[in-house]
């Protein structure tokens, strides 16, 4: 029980004090070190339980840490910290008057995410989901152009999703009398035949699908992420959808047992097809965009399809691939969104036209962007290749060739997408439109963003390659430990 204590306390403590960048960075560093410590502790000693308030689980709330969520905790803390360090200047630029409020919301968002991942209580998950959502709405709402409208859409969809989840938890309480995940899991098998259990499952899943922007209900995501302030997009885009996928894994495998989720429900097949649709549509819509961030947002929609599809294949390779992809996709999304944020910081725009000749201007940021892009396409040394490989082998094992085709198709489209950007950035001459609209002669000078924005970006880009190199270890030593034994 020991480590989380400090960890929870740090977070809870610094949320309220007089905030500034230093406190935030310190707090997140603390969170990162303790979650890394926690991961190694869990790997050597097995799952940890922390009883909040000192009450035994079914009566009180407990945090339950196993290798799966310890891994995700590390990812969240690392993403939040890197993004925080990398966006310090753009935050100062965009919210000069409200830095305190911005960092408070930022930290609260991270607290919500960390809490969702570590909690072992179905209702506590909802409460933390609310914290993460409310702060997320506020952070996105401060963006440019149509951000308020996009946020309003997000609020509607997000609230409906959260209500569905709450309703599902309510049903579970109705039928089991308990809110603790392990306790529910112990009671449920006797009453799997009940229709209420069936609907509780459907409601929980439907709510989480909305929150993670799974294809037919993805409408809120592209605008919200495209118009969000860079610093917020770099935090929310990598985390929200991934953490929701984690919540889906948690509910489907650890609250409902795998036998129920995969065999009794019989919805695996249609959901994988829905994921195929998500991947294809996300890729095609991304292809139609003329704005960098919006294109990236549609790529996320497709990536959500990867993870959901991989999970619902229901075999070990598929689920490992999905979990590995949660980690990898968080890192990849972080890299491309941070790079896009850097470009935006200098160019004041992210339409493709603005990117002409950008390689000459900002070579380092673009190099990191290319690494992220290669990873999303799935080129071997980077991590994207490995999770895709697991997903594809899972799909072949399950005999689901539609999913294989969708994955390959999406890789192809991603290649087209990113090489188009690279081509524009590398080969097209740079023109600088001034305020009167006519073009000045090409100015080609080195205008890289400050070091404080570059270093975190490069660290993140490097992590993509590291994750790729060590992904075998990650899967055999961490993820396989985390999955229940029944899954073969």
């Amino acid at each position: 029980m020991p480590l989380i204590a400090a960890f929870v306390a740090t977070i809870a403590g610094w949320v309220n004090k007089k905030y500034c960048f230093a406190v935030a960075a310190l707090g997140l560093t603390g969170a990162l070190t303790s979650s890394v410590g926690l991961l190694s502790y869990v790997l050597t000693h097995g799952p940890v339980q922390y009883r909040l308030g000192g009450w035994a689980p079914p009566f009180g709330i407990a945090y339950q840490i196993d290798p799966l969520n310890a891994l995700i905790l590390v990812v969240i803390a690392a993403v939040a910290l890197l993004n925080l360090l990398g966006t310090q200047r753009s935050v100062a630029l965009e919210f000069s008057e409200k830095i305190g409020a911005f960092y408070t919301l930022y930290l609260l968002f991270v607290v919500g995410m960390l809490g969702i991942v570590s909690t072992g209580d179905a209702f506590n998950l909802f409460v933390l989901l609310e914290i993460a959502s409310i702060t997320g709405y506020a952070l996105i709402g401060m963006g440019r152009d149509r951000a308020p409208l996009a946020t309003l859409n997000y609020i509607f969809m997000g609230t409906i999703g959260a209500s569905f989840y709450l309703l599902g938890v309510g049903y579970l309480y109705l039928i089991t009398g308990s809110l603790n995940m392990a306790d529910i899991a112990a009671i449920l098998p006797q009453i799997y035949a009940s229709k209420v259990v069936l609907f509780a499952f459907i409601f929980c899943m439907a709510g989480l699908f909305m929150k993670m922007a799974f294809f037919p209900v993805h409408g809120w995501l592209p605008n919200a992420y495209a118009y969000a302030p860079s610093a917020a997009a770099g935090l929310i885009a990598p985390l929200t959808t991934k953490v929701m996928v984690y919540a889906m894994v948690r509910i489907a495998l650890f609250v409902f047992k795998p036998e129920f989720t995969f065999e009794q429900m019989g919805i695996g097949e249609p959901l994988v097809w829905a994921a195929v649709a998500a991947i294809v549509m996300g890729s095609l819509l991304a292809l139609a965009q003329r704005q960098l961030k919006k294109m990236l947002a549609y790529v996320i929609v497709a990536e959500v399809g990867y993870m959901v599809g991989g999970f619902w294949l229901g075999n070990r390779a598929g689920i490992s691939g999905a979990v590995l992809h949660i980690v990898n996709d968080a890192a990849m999304t972080l890299v491309v969104f941070m790079a896009a944020g850097n470009l935006f910081y200098r160019l004041k725009g992210d339409s493709f036209g603005a990117l002409k000749g950008v390689f000459r201007e900002m070579p380092v940021s673009m190099a990191a962007f290319v690494v992220g892009a290669l990873s999303i396409i799935g080129v071997p040394p980077t991590c994207g290749f490995f999770s895709k490989w697991y997903l594809i082998s899972g799909a072949i094992e399950a005999g689901h060739y539609g999913f294989v085709a969708a994955l390959l198709f999406s890789s192809l489209v991603n290649a087209v997408l990113f090489f188009r950007i690279i081509e524009i950035g590398y080969f097209e001459p740079f023109t600088h439109a001034n305020h009167h609209g006519h073009h000045q002669p090409p100015v080609r000078r080195f205008r890289e963003v400050p070091m404080s924005m570059l270093v975190p970006l490069l660290v993140a880009a490097g992590s993509l390659i590291l994750l790729g190199v060590f992904s075998g270890d990650l899967v055999t030593k961490v993820i396989h430990l985390a999955l229940p034994g029944q899954i073969t």
């Binding site: 009883r51 909040l52 308030g53 009566f59």
Partner: protein, 276 residues
């Protein structure tokens, strides 16, 4: 498209009705919800926490961690409102209205002109000022103290009867908003300014989380109030009761301040110059 929507709604509604067939009967004492955890709470809460009101015991002790985050949600809502609405710099308006109280004459002062000195004779009024609201003002002046007293009672009495931090905080906040409604924004800002309300909101959450951390420092788990026994005097059971009171007060402070803070931002569109 509308027909499609209607069909979806009908389908979902039908499914919702269909599965209620398997619900436990209404108020069934043998239903899982009343046989699994509830008996423990009913039988043990008074022994564990010395709190007669078992809803409060569950809310602020057994599931205290949830309640802490509910308070954080309230705080987040307040700060989100501030973040989105608050205008960075207030523009000096084109003209300002001042009233000379003894004579009741209203002066209109253009931008850049000299403003009257701060004295008891002049008060600045809103552009939508309504001349005489004596009855409303007096009624509220009579009501507000009683509402506030009742709010404190609700906070303190959560142990024995329905009530607690959220309810009490809302009532207290409502009293302050009533005051702001019957007078005007600048008047209420003079009593509780923005900084104070933000500070109260944060410190309310801090009281709650701080209690948890204090328990942690005293060697127990986060929010395990029995660790507070040596500080508060009395036995660990009583400490649970006191711990609940402390966090309820924190909740009340946070809720009250956030209500007022949100009201300020909404009423003046974030400019904090005039409004009800």
């Amino acid at each position: 498209m509308r027909i499609f929507g209607l069909l979806t709604v009908l389908l979902c509604g039908g499914l919702l009705i269909y599965h209620t067939a398997d619900f436990p009967a209404w108020g069934d004492p043998a239903s899982p919800a009343s046989t699994h955890l509830s008996p423990y709470y009913i039988e043990h809460s008074i022994d564990d926490t010395m709190v007669p009101n078992l809803v409060t015991a569950v809310l602020a002790d057994y599931r205290s961690y949830d309640t802490m985050f509910e308070t954080v949600v309230v705080f987040a809502a307040g700060i989100a409102c501030f973040f989105l609405l608050r205008a960075a710099k207030s523009k000096t308006p084109e003209s300002m209205l001042y009233r000379h109280i003894p004579t009741g004459i209203t002066l209109r002062i253009e931008k850049g002109s000299k403003t009257p000195p701060d004295s008891a004779d002049f008060e600045r009024i809103d552009s939508v000022w309504v001349p005489y609201d004596l009855i409303i003002k007096i009624t509220c002046r009579l009501l507000v103290p009683f509402i506030q007293l009742f709010a404190l009672y609700v906070v303190a009495h959560g142990h024995h009867s329905p009530g607690g931090g959220f309810q009490g905080g809302v009532i207290f906040g409502a009293a302050l908003i009533l005051f702001a409604l019957t007078h005007n924004l600048s008047n209420s800002l003079k009593r509780i300014n923005e900084k104070t309300s933000a500070l109260f909101a944060a410190s309310g959450v801090l009281v709650y989380a701080g209690t948890g951390i204090l328990c942690l420092l005293l060697g127990a788990n986060f929010l395990d109030y029995s660790a507070l026994a040596p500080l508060l005097g009395g036995d660990p059971k009583m400490a649970h009761s006191h711990g609940i009171l402390i966090v309820e007060i924190g909740v009340a402070i946070a809720v009250m301040a956030v209500m007022v803070w949100i009201y300020y931002n909404l009423a003046s569109r974030g400019r904090h110059d005039e409004g009800l």
